[in-house]
Symmetry: D2
Subunit: 347 residues, 4 copies
Amino acid sequence: MIFLKANSPMSKLSVAIYGASGYTGFELVKILLRHPFVEIIALTANANAGQLLSDLDPALPALPLVNAEQVDTSQLDVAFLCLPHAASASAAQGLLNAGVKVIDLSADFRLKDLATYEKWYKVTHPCPELLSSAVYGLTEFARAELRGAKLVANPGCYVTSVLLGTAPVLQKGWVAGNIIADSASGVSGAGRAPKQNIHFVEVAENYSAYSIGQAHRHLPEMLQQMRLWSPTGQAELVFSPHLLPISRGILSTIYIPLVGAPTLADIHLLYEETYRGEPFVQVLPAGQTASIQHTVRTNRCSIGLTLVGNLLIVTSSLDNLVKGASGQAVQNMNAVFGLPETTGLLP
Amino acid sequence: MIFLKANSPMSKLSVAIYGASGYTGFELVKILLRHPFVEIIALTANANAGQLLSDLDPALPALPLVNAEQVDTSQLDVAFLCLPHAASASAAQGLLNAGVKVIDLSADFRLKDLATYEKWYKVTHPCPELLSSAVYGLTEFARAELRGAKLVANPGCYVTSVLLGTAPVLQKGWVAGNIIADSASGVSGAGRAPKQNIHFVEVAENYSAYSIGQAHRHLPEMLQQMRLWSPTGQAELVFSPHLLPISRGILSTIYIPLVGAPTLADIHLLYEETYRGEPFVQVLPAGQTASIQHTVRTNRCSIGLTLVGNLLIVTSSLDNLVKGASGQAVQNMNAVFGLPETTGLLP
Amino acid sequence: MIFLKANSPMSKLSVAIYGASGYTGFELVKILLRHPFVEIIALTANANAGQLLSDLDPALPALPLVNAEQVDTSQLDVAFLCLPHAASASAAQGLLNAGVKVIDLSADFRLKDLATYEKWYKVTHPCPELLSSAVYGLTEFARAELRGAKLVANPGCYVTSVLLGTAPVLQKGWVAGNIIADSASGVSGAGRAPKQNIHFVEVAENYSAYSIGQAHRHLPEMLQQMRLWSPTGQAELVFSPHLLPISRGILSTIYIPLVGAPTLADIHLLYEETYRGEPFVQVLPAGQTASIQHTVRTNRCSIGLTLVGNLLIVTSSLDNLVKGASGQAVQNMNAVFGLPETTGLLP
Amino acid sequence: MIFLKANSPMSKLSVAIYGASGYTGFELVKILLRHPFVEIIALTANANAGQLLSDLDPALPALPLVNAEQVDTSQLDVAFLCLPHAASASAAQGLLNAGVKVIDLSADFRLKDLATYEKWYKVTHPCPELLSSAVYGLTEFARAELRGAKLVANPGCYVTSVLLGTAPVLQKGWVAGNIIADSASGVSGAGRAPKQNIHFVEVAENYSAYSIGQAHRHLPEMLQQMRLWSPTGQAELVFSPHLLPISRGILSTIYIPLVGAPTLADIHLLYEETYRGEPFVQVLPAGQTASIQHTVRTNRCSIGLTLVGNLLIVTSSLDNLVKGASGQAVQNMNAVFGLPETTGLLP
């Protein structure tokens, strides 16, 4: 029997979404409405307080949006934070003090090193004392810490595609040198606020690189985890994001120089063993490469493997709003509360 | 011999574009750079003064953008106005006083009736005394007045597609009742400023109606011209615009009840006679319907004819930025100065 | 207690999909895999027999595709037919003889009049004796006949959008004259077999009309039902389909001349009453128009109402593969077996 | 004075396009119709002989398509071949024998090594004796040989983007190891014949890798030229093509390990010197990366430079149908006949 709350078998978790007016908030609402053990108690969106969610997107249900101050946190079991960085950490602090578990979709608790965070995000962290206790929620590699965790840092979208695609060879110590991750993302990754560079006419019929090399904020997050996995503690990465003329989905093509001359069969076996039994990681048969349509609107990450000499080429795809954000957040919530991880999620 | 200026055979026209930072401005620059008798003297964009055009769109040349006040109007032969309504009329007034011919791409001089203008655009017209002398530049039907004209009101994009598609039967008196124009436009018609409804994610994989019925500002402009053409002075129209997930192009499907039981052959002949020799109006063979790809990036309007009982269905397509805006503006400039109308334009 | 089979409470229905290698087949698989009372027994695809479904689309599960002859029909409760016309009717006949209920997604049993069928589809009907007993499965209007039905003709995609958008005023006798339905569909409606006109490059950045007027096969299907609803037995329709550069979704903008001068409030009330309690028909608040994003990937039809004089303009959107095909097919299966209609479907 | 033909100053070149029914043929027609020194004499398309070009694409002019056997080659100055490989070489042989200059857009004369050609293209070459005399027409690096050449092998689309992006550092001997070219192409690169993988629904909302590593036919073509440029004769390359959901354009993101620790300023200077005065190669200012919209529908290749440690990241974009095919073919024709290279082309 599953006890979601003390003394309350199978009762529902009371959930709030902070920052429900963006694409990750929308996706969370869609997922959580299908989740059998969740009751959405409150959706906050300070700039839209008083409106209905369906006013923002008529495909969504007519749920009220409130100001964060209106939420009675004493009723909450868990809060998802889809807020801008810094704002998210501030909100987390209050919620944790009120005994609410927090799953933070912002970057605020992903980087363990305060200086690295403040360098890349150019803000003073509101509560650096929480950094060390936050669980970095790449679910497949964090289950032990997730169980019962109070604060979960949900990984970035690009990050999830690159880390799941490189974990097996990194952990095994097979990586010989610098990794190059050439990634392409749909436009929803840039958020819902209108900007010139995501105007329809600027994106349609186009494809462009941005922040390539070592200029994107997801780079330090990838490196932090890669170095934890690497037996030597060393890892280097060049990361080149691109903007695709589609709404959702990420494909990362990752170039990894290997040591020890493993065969493709060796590598394939390693990936299959690493991800055996994982409901949301699919290692494709040899000879197949990942594509965005394989995974869009699912919580799955699809991984293809190609070997050229000693260079492993991994293709890794996922939906940036699902496994790259809100789906993984729900997977993490399930892990925190001891629910089957697939509850409410499409494999 | 063509005299563009008094005593100056074949010299070039000195041209300024006011409001060069939007899509119609961009398109004008591209067309005018190919025009053998034009020299661009100035591009204004008050919010971007000091920048280069290539800073806004790297596919464009590195021409300087200036504040409108910096333009020496004494050097100009002609100015194209791509400004918001009301701002456009104000600028026109000053330019006309300086002896510069004006081709206005805004709505400010399209409607002859001041009250209608002020009702639909919700502003006080800065110079209503100019309304009567402005030439309504649907080129194919305005050549006589265009020659030497001082002020040209360039028609709206939807309007051009609907008027060219209905002119022959309206002029002939064959229209029996209310016309319905069901139109679909690419997103560039909504302008370059970022807004929620033209965010890539809102438009992609979508198709939606807006301002349908009698709520769109292009309706009174269509009706004004239709009633001038109609032998009875009467015409009624329902106009239903839709937003397409493409960057440019308009297709109007127009339903016209007819009197007198003409055959499709009769109607086809009427359209061919009306547009015989027109370089920019293509009457498709019977059985074909217009499509946006027929006309995009050209100054052509393509017209298909289908008859069902006494209902004529016209499909009319054009590029909203070319024949629907900047291309027709250049066609009008050519007509004003007695140049071959096709100069600088792709048929 | 629900008895799906005699003496077998809550056991699962054994289902086969004939013609599982097209888009409606794919969509049926996705829906039925989520359906708690269904077990998929067989997927046929004669040209792909021996392959896995995932060979055709890696996002689908690795289910085997077999030749229709390999299916043991004695095990089946219900078969969905996604076959070409004529082939579908032939298959239906055999299945019905074997006691299997049939839900046919082809056009073979939609038209009650044999001559009309043979004129539009240009084939000899294999089993015209079945036409009279087939239930036309526009679910919202066919529940009584659906319960226990042996053969269901699932409506066409365009047809569903137009009929749901016009039923209330037709049934009420408020329609004064010819209806015009101007519809736009995503490309999946044209099927999965490669053809020149659905090559990516032909469709992208394009929008075009085809078979407009009275040339599309969905026209007689619409008229048949409209005349059944009309108190006078009369109805006339012009239908103009267009091809959108998107994968899925239909928006119909329907122009209906009315008698009796009802107000928009009257009409809105009529639609709300007609569809009160319907889980899959959404009447939008006055002032809103339907858009494809409202309904895509759901089984919902969304309806907006606008009144201009005595002309009602209905916007009606749905997903052509869901409510326009496979979703409605499952809704019909639910109705046939007395299951809650929403089982397995997203509202 | 320009002599296009002996004794015939400024007369026009008589041109035929063989294989005019595909996208490169269409693009050639559009370009050549704007070319002041060209007269199109014949368009061949054996499967469409007897039809008009406008029957295939109504946006094109109504020029007749004939069978190749109907062309009077004695009238021709130059022929463009847009035929499948092997068919192209056969046609070339006959045309050269008739004294017609040939610009071949197929792969038949690109590879100098017969065995390499036959391995990758899996056919017997019809006329291997012509391989040595064919000029490899990467125009910017082949001008001397192009002047007066009889047979020009027009480079592949991906190849042009990668070679122009790597030439300066390769020639300079600055490349320290394996190059990785991660490229993305619009769908027109896959040709006009309908196939499952370029069905609109398969491509839209998708992004996928194919033939990655060392499996694509453009790889040996790139390596052949890279090794000619490299001072050591050595070069290694991994090439990973991807399919974009757009109609046209290529962006290559190229990772090049460097020796000798040049600064970004050094590299930028090297690229600027290499391409100084080139009308169709644009080296972007430091800090900018190339995008497809920079170059689409032009004959330009746009190059951006980023340096990360000793890894140079080049972004290189062009239009696969223009600089990647038909535009460069016309540029080559201009070079062959001593015309200004920009004639008829948009910079």
